[in-house]
């Protein structure tokens, strides 16, 4: 019941960690905000250590990601796949299924959406109104099947999903490389041909004939899809029988079984849905951002989705906020340094959030000798 005390003989008081009996309603949000604050301070210290001015860096990050409507649009472009992978992870994590394969499911989704275009299923000149929904469905199905493999293995044979989803990421990447280096290679480059215009998700800039100010803004329909997906996931989790079953099974699988829920079916279902969300991220990336399938597609979106899911406490609407924050960080990161510092800040945020989460369940007490 009680955690070990820190027995230091130096001070006239000792600190004790004790379990909280109840968690006030405001505490989780406050803890998350405090964690982000602490992460900024720690990152600032590290920045100062390497000789940079932390305030200038943070100001630069803010300016580079939210400074004007154009960079905001770019931030949202970055946030789009993150929202979807964040949702994929949140949904699975709610049932305590540790799907860390959103990366691979995203790649398979990208492949599935590309296959709709590149395998010539539809004749050339098929309008976007048919082609794009077909790509979205193709991406979601491919992602779902990829997630479903881990789901079936877990449900039928009780194979640890952390291992399978992690390993399937590498398989997915190799599969994708096979296609972009081989059958779909554009003249030997590691990418496919650019998709026809009809296969592009609509971008805001295309409305510039109506609103001249949006010219050049690249935020695309995928962002809307992501928002809708977040709404649907929220609705399913909180307002449907299936959502109730997922919450119940996540909190206590044995109680779920006792309540008559078929856990095996639910596990497969959640993996399919989680994979479909990540697959949608892939479809949205190829159709909305890069307009072709290429090797360097995922950029760790699937893994960042894990961080986002934790930051949002697995809440679908929280995922949107967290994903935009991380989108900003990624975008600004390009301006600070290609790699390193932004990834470090991400890592610090994750560690702080996990610590804060533990502290919402425990309380520190000062005990006088």
């Amino acid at each position: 019941m009680s955690a070990p005390a820190t027995d230091r003989g130096l001070l006239p008081v000792t600190l004790r960690v004790e379990r909280r009996l109840g968690t006030p309603r405001w505490l989780p949000l406050a803890a998350t905000l405090a964690a982000i604050g602490a992460a900024l301070v720690l990152s600032g210290l590290l920045l100062a250590l390497i000789g940079a001015d932390p305030f200038a860096v943070f100001a630069h990050i803010l300016g580079a990601s939210f400074g004007d409507l154009y960079v905001l649009s770019d931030t949202l472009v970055k946030a789009t796949p993150l929202i979807l992978t964040g949702l994929a992870c949140s949904l699975a994590f709610r049932m305590r299924l540790w799907n860390i394969g959103a990366e691979g499911q995203l790649l398979m989704g990208a492949w599935g959406a590309s296959a709709v275009v590149l395998l010539g299923i539809f004749p050339a000149g098929t309008p976007g109104i048919i082609l794009i929904p077909a790509m979205v469905v193709g991406g979601m199905v491919a992602g779902a099947l990829w997630g479903g493999i881990a789901g079936v293995l877990r449900a039928r044979l009780n194979v640890n999903e952390i291992i399978t989803t992690l390993m399937l990421n590498y398989v997915a990447l190799s599969f994708l490389r096979f296609w972009v280096f081989g059958p779909w290679s554009e003249g030997g480059f590691q990418q496919t041909v650019q998709f026809p215009r009809d296969a592009w998700l609509g971008r805001l800039t295309e409305l510039s004939w109506l609103i001249p100010d949006v010219a050049g803004m690249t935020v695309h329909g995928g962002f809307l899809l992501a928002l809708v997906a977040a709404g649907i996931v929220w609705w399913v989790l909180s307002r449907t029988r299936t959502g109730y079953e997922i919450r119940l099974a996540g909190d206590n699988p044995q109680a779920a079984r006792y309540a008559g829920i078929d856990l095996k079916r639910k596990i497969v279902l959640v993996f399919l849905a989680s994979g479909a969300l990540a697959g949608l991220a892939g479809a949205s990336e190829v159709s909305g951002t890069v307009h072709r399938l290429q090797d360097s597609l995922a950029l760790g979106y699937g893994f960042t989705g894990i961080v986002i899911a934790y930051l949002a406490k697995f809440h679908p609407l929280g995922v949107i906020v967290a994903a935009i924050g991380f989108g900003a960080l990624i975008l600004a990161g390009r301006e600070i340094q290609p790699a390193g510092i932004p990834a470090m800040i991400q890592g610090i945020v994750l560690v702080c959030v996990i610590v804060a989460d533990a502290l919402t369940r425990y309380t520190l007490r000062v005990v006088r000798r």
Partner: protein
């Protein structure tokens, strides 16, 4: 309230004065005094949540008191860890054992000690531990791995661990909750042997009978405060203690109308099943339960009772036949069995019977969210769920701030009320109740008994699995004794007085009923 100073010349083994311990939202101990003399069994009696365990956790160095002083053998102490408490001679045996199942008894006893340092030299150690145990009347196979031991033996290992570390004051937290009558007797003999040798025992309990039978003196706590300080046990009556504990008169006898059994609801034929380790747990069970009848299942824990309940409720695969109102339900999906009208009050309230992180409302609709008004084809109607939850919370007097409170914050009694509310409100055909009053206080036990009798009157068939013989003889219309996966005896009400006989059947010492099974 304070005891007059001790009449013996030797210092008290333990002297706690004015102990205050606050948790967020409640005062667990409110200026509590406790004296424990050398050579006595001192019972600490009180309902659940009265603050008994908190007080003893302070004495054992797990918690620190907010106010108050503690003296051991006349010297003031302030423990900051269990290690310091044990160094001062205080050892606590918790309700949940802290043994490593795959290690032997000897290894468990030596675990974490400075000696032996590197080389275990187990052969000699086994002999030393076995001799040490023998001396203190604790029968344990020193070289057997702990997982092979019965619950009673595991408890003896826990005691042995404490004595090996030099405990002279042993705190036992509800030690008999997991024991059968014979094992309880054996435990009490060991405790007596320890006090005869000058040690002291603090026995945390809420069972009046055992307190009166083993304790020298009694301290009663109610809502964190002392209501009787170190009174002599001799000459007290259970009713008197119950009043001190609960603060009002408690019905001692269970008022029960004569049974009016109807047609057979549940019929079990040749049921066999394995336990979680893949060993046979049920070896051919036959039984029948009629409408409006309570059939009690007696037995020491681990003789197949849990597996029987799980097989009937569909949670465990089994061979043989189980029919409900003539319909075969063996190995059917849990959902089908629930819908056939089987209610299940599980043994493990937090592990099976509830989802600790979900709200009261979510927990209360766990078995009815599929149909109207809560469930649509797809929808989960929160408003309807909340309405049902509010009504059930009021009807069954589940005490909690609101229906949004997570279930894990409920006390044992309130959690059981929640489970009963959920299971009984649907008017079940069959109720499988497993240890429904384990760990509950007098008031909550009364509620559980009343609710089960209400269901019996309403014509439900009830299987009551319990280790409390008083509960079984008070409630059941017939008692079946289980031993090693078989029905060892079928006892009619006129023989309920023969506790000895039932005890012998439970421990397999009486095999006469073998043929009757």
């Amino acid at each position: 309230m304070m005891e007059p100073m001790t009449e013996t010349a030797t210092p008290l083994a333990v002297e706690m004065r004015g102990i205050v311990k606050r948790f967020p939202g409640l005062v667990a101990n409110d200026r509590v005094d406790l004296d424990v003399r050398r050579g006595e069994v001192h019972a600490l009696l009180g309902e659940n949540g009265a603050g008994k365990s908190t007080l003893m956790n302070i004495l054992a160095g797990l918690y620190s008191a907010d106010e108050g002083t503690v003296a051991v053998d006349g010297r003031p102490v302030r423990f900051r860890s269990p290690r310091e408490a044990i160094a001062a001679g205080i050892g606590m045996v918790h309700q949940h054992f802290t043994l490593v199942p795959s290690l032997t008894v000897t290894e468990n006893v030596l675990l974490g000690l400075a000696e032996p340092r590197i080389r275990l030299g187990l052969g000699a150690r086994h002999a030393a531990v076995a001799a040490f145990a023998e001396e203190r009347g604790l029968r344990v196979p020193a070289d057997a791995p702990v997982w092979q031991l019965s619950v009673g033996e595991q408890q003896r290992v826990e005691i042995l661990k404490m004595l090996w570390r030099g405990a002279r004051i042993l705190i036992m937290d509800e030690p008999t909750a997991v024991l059968g009558p014979a094992e309880t007797e054996e435990l009490f003999r060991s405790l007596r042997a320890m006090t005869a040798a000058g040690g002291s025992v603090v026995l945390i309990s809420h069972k009046l009978g055992e307190v009166l039978s083993v304790a020298d003196r009694i301290t009663v706590l109610r809502r964190g405060a002392v209501t009787a300080a170190g009174i002599d046990a001799a000459g007290r009556t259970p009713a008197e203690l119950a009043r001190l504990m609960v603060g009002r008169e408690v019905l001692e006898r269970i008022e029960k109308a004569p049974a009016t059994p109807g047609p057979v609801v549940l019929a079990v034929r040749g049921l066999a099943a394995q336990n979680d380790r893949g060993l046979p747990a049920l070896r051919g069970i036959d039984l029948e339960v009629r409408a409006g009848e309570i059939v009690g299942i007696a037995g020491v824990a681990g003789n197949g009772q849990s597996e029987l309940a799980e097989a009937i409720t569909g949670l465990r695969a089994a061979t043989g036949s189980i029919t409900l109102d003539g319909r075969e339900i063996a190995n059917r999906p849990v959902l089908e069995i629930i819908e056939a009208g089987v209610a299940h009050i599980p043994e493990d309230r937090t592990g099976t019977g509830s989802a600790p992180g979900l709200s009261l409302a979510d927990n209360l609709v766990m078995k009815r969210y599929r149909s109207a008004p809560v469930g649509g084809r797809i929808r989960f109607r929160r408003r309807a769920a909340r309405g049902i939850a509010e009504a059930l919370k009021a009807d069954y007097a589940v005490s909690a701030p609101s229906i949004d409170t997570p279930a894990r914050l409920l006390s044992g009694g309130n959690l059981q009320r929640l489970i009963l509310a959920r299971e009984l409100t649907s008017g079940p055909r069959l109720i499988v109740a497993v240890q429904p009053t384990r760990g509950l206080d007098v008031g909550a036990i009364e509620t559980v008994h009343r609710l089960l009798l209400d269901q019996r009157r309403a014509g439900a068939a009830i299987i009551l699995i319990s280790e409390e013989l008083d509960e079984l003889t008070g409630l059941a219309d017939r008692i079946l004794v289980m031993y090693e996966g078989r029905i060892a005896g079928d006892i009619e009400p006129e023989l309920f007085g023969e506790i000895e006989e039932i005890g012998l059947l439970m421990t397999g010492s009486r095999g006469a009923a073998e043929g009757a099974a």
